[in-house]
C-alpha cells in the first residue's frame, strides 16, 4: 500500500528546487552589470560608411575582435564609389548624424574640410586619455595626410589607403630582346610603347577610362595644369600649350594600347598587365604591384615596377589617399574615434600586411619595417621604398595634387574626360578640343556658381 506520508516530503522538495533555480537565475543575472562596466561602449551601435574597397573587406574580418573589446556593434555600410560620395555629400552637407564615421574621399576632402563638415580630430589625438602616445599621429606619411588638413593645420582625417602612381612593366624579356631600357622620360616611354606594340601579340601600354586621373601627370610634366594655380586660382587652364602637349602625348601612347582601351575599366587594365598582354601600366601601386605580388600574375619573372617616367619640366606622378573621419554632427564621436584609432592602429596595419598582403597602408613605421620590406621585396625590387617615395611627394615643395582636391575639379575633370576622348578618337585636333573644353569648363563652373 502506498505510504501517503511520503507525498508532502516530495512536494516540498520540488518547491525548494524551483526556489533554488530562481535564486540561481537571479545570481546569474547579477554579474551582467559588472560585465557591462568592463566595456565602456557596451550597447553603442556605431554607424560608418565608405565606398567599397579591399581595405574594408579585409577589416571586416577583424571587426568582431573590436566589438568584443569595446562592446560596440559596428554597422559598416559600403557602397559603390559614386553612390557613396553622393550619399556622404548629402548627409554631411545637410548636417545629418546618420553616420558616426565616414570615409573622407580624396577628391571631396578639401571641400568637406573647408565647409566645416567634419570634426577636428586633433581634439582626440591631443588627449592622452583618448589616444596613447604609441598611436603616433605623426607616423602617417605626410604626403598622404595633406588632403585632410585645413589652412590652420587642423586634421580632419587619417589616411587608410595610399595611391602612389608607379609604372609596371610586364615583359622585360621582350624589351631586353629589342635592346630597350626602362623608360625614364616621356620621350623614351613613347618609344618603348611603339616598339613593343604588336611584338609577340603584346600591346605597348594599357590604361583605363578614368582619363582625368591618368592625364594630369603628363600635363604637369610639360609644365601645364588643370587650373591656373590651384587651390587659390581655379581658372581652368585646359587650353594652354603645355596642357595640349600632355593631351597629345597621352593620345599617342594610347595608340599602342589594346582595342577599346578608352572604355577599359581598372580591372581590365590590371588583367591585361597580369597576363602579359600589355607591357606597361601606369597607375596607383595597388593596381600595378600585383604583377609581382599576385598569384594571378603570369609574368612575375619578367616584371619590373619603377617610377613613372618624368616630363621635360616636372616629375609629378599622381599620389593620393583615402581617409577616415568623423562627421561634425556625429552622435557618437568618442566611439567613432575608438574605431578609427583601432582600424588605423600600427597593429591592425601590420596584420593587414602580414596576413593579407595589403601593402597600401600609410604608416611610415609599417612601410619601413623589416617585415613589410621582406614581404614586398620581389625579384630584388623593394616595392615599399618605391611606394613611400611617391607617396611623400605631395608634401615636398608644392602640392601638385591640389588640382584634384579643389571643389571645382569634378566639373572640370568631366569636361577633360570628354575632350580627351575626342582627341584620342580623332574627332577633333587637340588644340580645337581643348579650346572648346576651356569654354565648356568655364561655363560649367559659372553655372555651378563659381566666381572666376
Amino acid at each position: 500500500m502506498k505510504n501517503w506520508a511520503d507525498q508532502p516530503a516530495r512536494a516540498i522538495t520540488r518547491r525548494k528546487l524551483l526556489q533554488a533555480s530562481a535564486t540561481g537565475a537571479a545570481l546569474a543575472a547579477f554579474p551582467a552589470p559588472l560585465i557591462a562596466q568592463t566595456k565602456p561602449f557596451a550597447g553603442v551601435t556605431l554607424h560608418g560608411a565608405s565606398f567599397q574597397h579591399r581595405f574594408f573587406t579585409l577589416l571586416q574580418k577583424y571587426i568582431p575582435e573590436f566589438e568584443e573589446q569595446t562592446g560596440m556593434k559596428v554597422d559598416l555600410q559600403l557602397s559603390a564609389f559614386p553612390v557613396y560620395n553622393q550619399q556622404a555629400n548629402l548627409e554631411l552637407s545637410s548636417g545629418g548624424s546618420a553616420y558616426d564615421f565616414v570615409n573622407v574621399t580624396f577628391i571631396l576632402a578639401a571641400r568637406w574640410v573647408a565647409a566645416g563638415l567634419l570634426a577636428n580630430l586633433d581634439e582626440f589625438t591631443g588627449d592622452s586619455n583618448m589616444t596613447p602616445a604609441e598611436w603616433n599621429p605623426k607616423d602617417f606619411v605626410e604626403g598622404a595626410q595633406v588632403p585632410y588638413r585645413d589652412a590652420k593645420g587642423g586634421t580632419y582625417g587619417y589616411s587608410w589607403e595610399g595611391g602612389a602612381m608607379v609604372m609596371g612593366l610586364s615583359r622585360m624579356d621582350l624589351m631586353e630582346k629589342k635592346g630597350l631600357k626602362i623608360p625614364k622620360t616621356f620621350a623614351e616611354l613613347q618609344q618603348v610603347c611603339a616598339e613593343i606594340n604588336g611584338t609577340d601579340g603584346v600591346n605597348g601600354i594599357v590604361s583605363f577610362q578614368l582619363h582625368h586621373w591618368n592625364l594630369p601627370p603628363y600635363i604637369q610634366g610639360f609644365g601645364g595644369n588643370i587650373f591656373k594655380n590651384p587651390p587659390g586660382d581655379i581658372m581652368p587652364a585646359l587650353n594652354k600649350p603645355e596642357t595640349i602637349e600632355g593631351i597629345e602625348l597621352y593620345a599617342r601612347l594610347l595608340k599602342s594600347a589594346p582595342k577599346g582601351v578608352l572604355t577599359y575599366t581598372e580591372d581590365q587594365a590590371r588583367q591585361s598587365l597580369l597576363t602579359g598582354r600589355s607591357n606597361i601600366f601606369i597607375h596607383s601601386s595597388a593596381w600595378v604591384t600585383p604583377i609581382l605580388l599576385s598569384e594571378e600574375s603570369k609574368v612575375k619573372d619578367t616584371s619590373r615596377v619603377v617610377r613613372m617616367p618624368a616630363g621635360p619640366v616636372h616629375d609629378h606622378p599622381a599620389s593620393n589617399s583615402q581617409g577616415l573621419g568623423i562627421p561634425k554632427n556625429a552622435k557618437n564621436k568618442k566611439a567613432a574615434w575608438e574605431f578609427i584609432k583601432w582600424a588605423l592602429s600600427p597593429d591592425i596595419s601590420m596584420r593587414l600586411v602580414k596576413e593579407h598582403g595589403h601593402s597600401s597602408v600609410c604608416r611610415r613605421s609599417i612601410i619601413t619595417s623589416d617585415t613589410y620590406r621582406k614581404l614586398n621585396t620581389v625579384n630584388g625590387q623593394d616595392l615599399g621604398a618605391l611606394y613611400l617615395e611617391v607617396l611623400e611627394l605631395p608634401a615636398k615643395g608644392e602640392n601638385y595634387m591640389a588640382y584634384r582636391t579643389v571643389k571645382e575639379f569634378p566639373i572640370v575633370g568631366d569636361v577633360l574626360n570628354k575632350a580627351f576622348e575626342q582627341v584620342a578618337t580623332g574627332q577633333l585636333p587637340a588644340k580645337d578640343a581643348m579650346n572648346a573644353a576651356q569654354d565648356q569648363a568655364i561655363a560649367a563652373l559659372r553655372r555651378a556658381g563659381t566666381q572666376l
Binding site: 553622393q86 578608352l262 571643389k407 556658381g449
Partner: protein
C-alpha cells in the same frame, strides 16, 4: 431611398475605397515629381548647404539649357538612339513573329527562348554585351580574326559606338515587339487569308493587304511603348561606353546622371530631367492623339 441617393452613396463608397490607393500613388509618384520640379528651380548642390532652398532665380537652370551644347547634343543622341532602336525592334520583331507564327510544337518551344533577353535584368544584358564588345575576350573578335577580318573596338569607335548600343538595346527588347505582334497575328481570322489565297493573291500580297492592316495598330502601340522606354537605355550606356567616346553616346538621362553624381549639380540635373520628361510626355500625347485621329477617320 430614391435612386439618386443610392447613386450618391455608391460614388461616395467608390471614392472611399480608392482613397488608400490614391494616397499611395500620390506618395510614390506625385510627390517625387513635385520635389523634382521644385529642386529644378534651385541651384542645389550637395556641397552647398542652403542651396536647396534658394529660389532667387527659379528659371535660371532652364535658361541655361539651350546654351548648353552638351545638353543639346544629348537630346540629339537620344533621338538617334530612340529612332533607330525602335525602328529595328519593331521591324525585326514583326519579322520574327511572322516566321514563328506556325502551329508547331517545336516552334512553340523555340519561341520561349526568344523571350529570354526581355526578362533578364538590364544590368545583366549590359554585362553580356560588355563581354561581346571587349576585343580581348570576345568570341566575336576571335571569329573575325579567324576570318582575317579586322573589327574595330565598337564601343570605342566614333562611328560604331552608338550602333553598338542600338544593337544591344534591340537584342534586349526585340522579344517585346515580337510578343506583341505574335499575339496580334494569332487574332487574325484564317478566313481572310484563305479567301485571298483563293483569289490568287501571293504571300507578299496577303501580308500587305490582309496581315499588315490587322497588325498595324499593335505595331504602333508597341512602337510607342518602346519609344517611351528607349530613354531607359542607361545601363547599357553606363557599362559599355560611359557616354563616350567623347559625347557620342551621351544620352540625356546619362548626362543628368553625371550632373547629379559626378559634379553634384542636383538642381541643374533636375532641370535636365524635367525637360526630358516633358519631351517624353509630349511625344506620348502626340502619338495618342494621332491614334485617336486615325480611329476617328476610320
Amino acid at each position: 431611398m430614391n435612386q439618386g441617393g443610392i447613386d450618391g452613396e455608391r460614388r461616395a463608397f467608390i471614392a472611399f475605397a480608392l482613397t488608400p490607393s490614391l494616397i499611395v500613388l500620390f506618395a510614390v509618384a506625385v510627390l517625387p515629381a513635385i520635389y523634382l520640379v521644385v529642386t529644378s528651380l534651385t541651384p542645389f548642390q550637395l556641397t552647398a548647404p542652403g542651396s536647396a532652398t534658394d529660389f532667387g532665380a527659379p528659371l535660371r537652370n532652364y535658361g541655361l539649357l539651350p546654351g548648353d551644347p552638351r545638353f543639346v547634343n544629348s537630346l540629339a543622341v537620344q533621338a538617334k538612339l530612340s529612332f533607330w532602336g525602335v525602328l529595328f525592334q519593331v521591324l525585326l520583331g514583326m519579322l520574327l513573329a511572322l516566321l514563328l507564327n506556325v502551329p508547331s510544337r517545336f516552334v512553340e518551344f523555340a519561341r520561349t527562348f526568344f523571350l529570354i533577353p526581355m526578362v533578364l535584368p538590364p544590368i545583366v544584358v549590359a554585362v553580356i554585351w560588355k563581354l561581346i564588345y571587349t576585343p580581348d575576350i570576345s568570341p566575336l573578335y576571335y571569329a573575325a580574326q579567324a576570318l582575317h577580318f579586322t573589327l574595330p573596338a565598337l564601343t570605342s569607335s566614333v562611328d560604331f559606338a552608338l550602333t553598338a548600343i542600338i544593337i544591344a538595346d534591340t537584342w534586349e527588347w526585340l522579344p517585346f515587339t515580337f510578343l506583341m505582334v505574335l499575339a496580334a497575328l494569332q487574332t487574325i481570322p484564317d478566313e481572310y487569308s484563305e479567301a485571298a489565297l483563293v483569289d490568287g493573291a501571293n504571300r507578299l500580297q496577303i501580308f500587305w493587304y490582309v496581315t499588315l492592316p490587322f497588325i498595324t495598330p499593335i505595331l504602333v502601340i508597341s512602337g510607342m511603348f518602346r519609344l517611351i522606354d528607349s530613354v531607359k537605355a542607361f545601363p547599357l550606356i553606363f557599362l559599355l561606353t560611359s557616354g563616350g567616346p567623347g559625347t557620342v553616346t551621351e544620352v540625356t538621362n546619362y548626362y543628368a546622371y553625371l550632373l547629379a553624381f559626378d559634379t553634384n549639380e542636383i538642381g541643374y540635373s533636375s532641370a535636365v530631367t524635367v525637360v526630358m520628361l516633358l519631351l517624353v510626355a509630349g511625344i506620348s500625347l502626340g502619338l495618342v492623339w494621332m491614334g485617336r485621329r486615325r480611329e476617328a477617320m476610320a
